[in-house]
Symmetry: D2
Amino acid sequence: MIAILKPNVTDAQIKSLSAWFRAQGLSVHLSRGEYQTVMGLIGDTSKVDTELVEGLDTVQSVMRISEPYKSANRKFHPLDTVVSCGGAKIGGGNFALIAGPCSVESEAQIVGIAHSVKSAGAAILRGGAFHLRTSPYAFQGLQQEGLDLLVRAKEQTGLPIVTEIVSVEQLPLFDRVDLIQVSGRNMQNFDLLRELGKTDKPILLKRGPANTIDELLMSAEHIMAGGNERVVLCEQGIRTFETHTRTTLDLSAIPALHELTHLPVVVDPSRAALSAGLIAPMALAAVAAGADGVMIEVHNDPSYALCDGAQSITPDAFTALAKQIEAVRRAVVQ
Amino acid sequence: MIAILKPNVTDAQIKSLSAWFRAQGLSVHLSRGEYQTVMGLIGDTSKVDTELVEGLDTVQSVMRISEPYKSANRKFHPLDTVVSCGGAKIGGGNFALIAGPCSVESEAQIVGIAHSVKSAGAAILRGGAFHLRTSPYAFQGLQQEGLDLLVRAKEQTGLPIVTEIVSVEQLPLFDRVDLIQVSGRNMQNFDLLRELGKTDKPILLKRGPANTIDELLMSAEHIMAGGNERVVLCEQGIRTFETHTRTTLDLSAIPALHELTHLPVVVDPSRAALSAGLIAPMALAAVAAGADGVMIEVHNDPSYALCDGAQSITPDAFTALAKQIEAVRRAVVQ
Amino acid sequence: MIAILKPNVTDAQIKSLSAWFRAQGLSVHLSRGEYQTVMGLIGDTSKVDTELVEGLDTVQSVMRISEPYKSANRKFHPLDTVVSCGGAKIGGGNFALIAGPCSVESEAQIVGIAHSVKSAGAAILRGGAFHLRTSPYAFQGLQQEGLDLLVRAKEQTGLPIVTEIVSVEQLPLFDRVDLIQVSGRNMQNFDLLRELGKTDKPILLKRGPANTIDELLMSAEHIMAGGNERVVLCEQGIRTFETHTRTTLDLSAIPALHELTHLPVVVDPSRAALSAGLIAPMALAAVAAGADGVMIEVHNDPSYALCDGAQSITPDAFTALAKQIEAVRRAVVQ
Amino acid sequence: MIAILKPNVTDAQIKSLSAWFRAQGLSVHLSRGEYQTVMGLIGDTSKVDTELVEGLDTVQSVMRISEPYKSANRKFHPLDTVVSCGGAKIGGGNFALIAGPCSVESEAQIVGIAHSVKSAGAAILRGGAFHLRTSPYAFQGLQQEGLDLLVRAKEQTGLPIVTEIVSVEQLPLFDRVDLIQVSGRNMQNFDLLRELGKTDKPILLKRGPANTIDELLMSAEHIMAGGNERVVLCEQGIRTFETHTRTTLDLSAIPALHELTHLPVVVDPSRAALSAGLIAPMALAAVAAGADGVMIEVHNDPSYALCDGAQSITPDAFTALAKQIEAVRRAVVQ
């Protein structure tokens, strides 16, 4: 970490600042120029709060040389992490196609879709039981009944399942779930992340619509700091000024994350799209950009799905898309 | 609510769509033009999910005529709500100056600052005990001990206190707190909001850095739907591309919220500022724009505060600012 | 166009408003509900300024039913436009690989790169002669000499050339250019667009980093309104809060634009990337999402390019990328 | 300027890089740590392109210690600049109230409004003659006739005038204008800025809706580099995700700019507002935050103004606002 000091800083201030850094276990290397004094801080700077240091009235600006995350950092773990969940593998060359409805609605619906996406090549079944909704008056999901139905679909098809947890108290219910999803809104619910870090369950951590790549990695770090290193990252769109899409899918996050971390990266193009016509092109684009998996909302009757119908495609459209995805994978992997 | 249908929609589709809306308790008014068919939906549309309707493959776009929030809506409650907390009043012409350190550090610190801000005119004491931090390695606050010290400062000065809750389980501890703060990161932690809605405690609901004004109102609605109507809204900055500030303080949210809702609106300029020099001008601007209160971070030694030192000002600077705030209030209220 | 009137609007106001709309050549269809009055406006609404209407004190909100652009609108021109420039074709199933250095530096450099990208499969040669730079002290390009060198590379390789125009006065110099590029910063330089609309030259119109898809189409409309319909749109990244990339490449703009317009859409992933490692994955993703072309910065010595070295790849890397691009195209077109 | 080198950089690469920096007139100070090598670059770094250096494959990241703008930099010009235009003064304690219609419509209109705003305390008259419009079909202003009418209002009231220039060729027409406005869309039309830099006219440079504070200062630098130091900066809102306003007025830009530059800063709250109710609160907030002037759109019949009616207030409302502005100024200046 490097701190540029303010031009008018006195010797006494420099001495006091150096002492403060040393008290935090860092060694200090001072370089005084004609116009500027620069302080190099060496040691474990991951615990240092950059904004705090930037706020000191003797400091002009601060630059991290090493990233504040360790467990998630590729520098210390050069090999790709492979996350196994209920037979499926994600990362390190293993690609996972994840598909299913936004919301579990009935046994016939979820079991039917499960069979259909499995035969099209899906490796994991998705389906929402608990929903976080902006409006207190909107449909909140079938709750525990939805979870039971999802487990039934797993038993009948053998597909591992992924579904979202919305509060810490639900954790015991999620024993039967193969991959626990944390939605973007909960990406910085550190309380929840901490508890998930104590389990040995694979976690699908979605990027919040207004969170940076660094913040996503810091949230992964919250889980991993507890001992659970089975984290799958998920890009699903960030909030921008554009209105033709709900959010802007940031596909450059895929190669950027692959440079920064060893964790697998999947993409969920459904939430960002406002029209079903965008789902297939964006799923293919995600695969071409190197994603370790994609999540697709599939519904047998998208027009009247209880939730997010616009973002779903039919089982037939999914079957066609799965073939194209496989073809694009072969083209880019070679 | 008005739905514009797609140009090529068939009679059968219109019939089926009308039936679907009627099943949701709405009456449907159809207007077929040469080029376009428009459906007017009348009734309680607050439960209708706009995005879902927009996703139907027969619908081109949707426009709400009435807002999806009811309890927070000024249309149904024209008079300003006044929230009383421990003697202080916020809203309806009552202005509250809220001050104190980012983090409670010791009894001497918090009691000292409490006396000092009280004599400068503060109506409520702020101080953090539990902190949500991006890094799992950063200082998380003194936790329950911090809360105890804050209560001691309240006993010794008579100032009501505001502090942040970070998880549902802490709720019993907050009995002694006069105004419970929900941070921006938890603005859509609906689980927490629902529990707060069951209490009779005043809630300070901060806008998330990437949340719209409408989403802030919907989160207030989550609390109010449970019966607790004592909600104070707080603007503290939104995420933009600008880097000279941590976030961009959206002061236009003050008059916009005053048009939309009867709830009081306070502003916390500290988090957005990256340098202490911005705090006073932005606090004064908030007052000029009609805020019902401002929150200021005050610290006796801002250079070495354990948290967010950059955003604090000294007790002396606060005393001067409090006088200017009073002068601006007189100028705009007349 | 539909206007929702304010709840308390009087009969006299409605009458006056109707007259005002009729004076603009529109017919007015009024629908008065118990709670709300809605005005449907029929006719050529593309000339109506939505914001102006929204500002009238009798109007609550306004919704366009038809888009404000006509020449660029796919509704009125269902077939894809194919833009031919110097032998190369873009759009309607024709894919164009555009490559070359950010800046023309010398004859040896530009001719060498031209030969190399041609043999790798490029259809058009890019190269900057005039540069718009944020700093008045930065390198502004070789200017006219650069243009001459670019033309020489065209003569020696037969590749059509694309280069950027930065002001109206340069137009005569661009006679020898096959595809005239308008940078994102000039996307709303309507003066320049108007002059380009009077020529018969193909125009490569880049989306500004803070412009919406609708604004891009309106700028295309500025050119097309003058009679020049040979416009190629280009996505190159929009400004967001993320800092791991310079801008966020909005690949969902590709399928969104293909729905809205018949004009071809190409993608330039170079400017958005901050590291060369992102260029290839994003170029492949653009192709998978259906782009009609991609532009790649290629330089024989990217480390010391006079401009934007970080965003360039070597001729060898380009040759490998061109093969992958071809493979992805085959995978998605089928 | 400090460059952090990549971890695996070789001695040969360091030597080559050092030579490259020295060739640009900088002296190089190398500091090799156990984990990291840091290069300090001393000399006139304002000509160095940060992004280019960051792109070199031996460099991990770069941090500027000194700003890339010189003429606009407060460090080298500690005293506030006062810009005089036609008798009015802006900056250095001089506050200018600027008022008038968005668009000049007729002699009666502009002269009438001019008299009225003058008697309310306005120091400068605004009025648009040439308009940049997103749509090629929208009203483009009365053009030269509008300018003539504006000059007539100046002659009859003695008020200096400000109006927008939209292309270089118009420059001769602007001889009679006291303060030449460059709109946000033209903030990076460097061609235009360069020509304005050759005149001795005061320039009102508006911040583009997606431009950073640093970019605004770099654009001022483009003008000042030509010798014209009479630049007034103007904040008018930046593009964010919020939709209750057209753009988000960034009032923190006022104190931030006052720290960074000696140039005066005025605020135009009209464009950002979508409803007239936001104009007065935001104008007062701008004054409280330390603005050197505010620009207000005033129209005698805002409901039917040819342009931007929603953002205008009546002469009576302006008179009341002018009094409040004066009161707030007294409160904050003391």
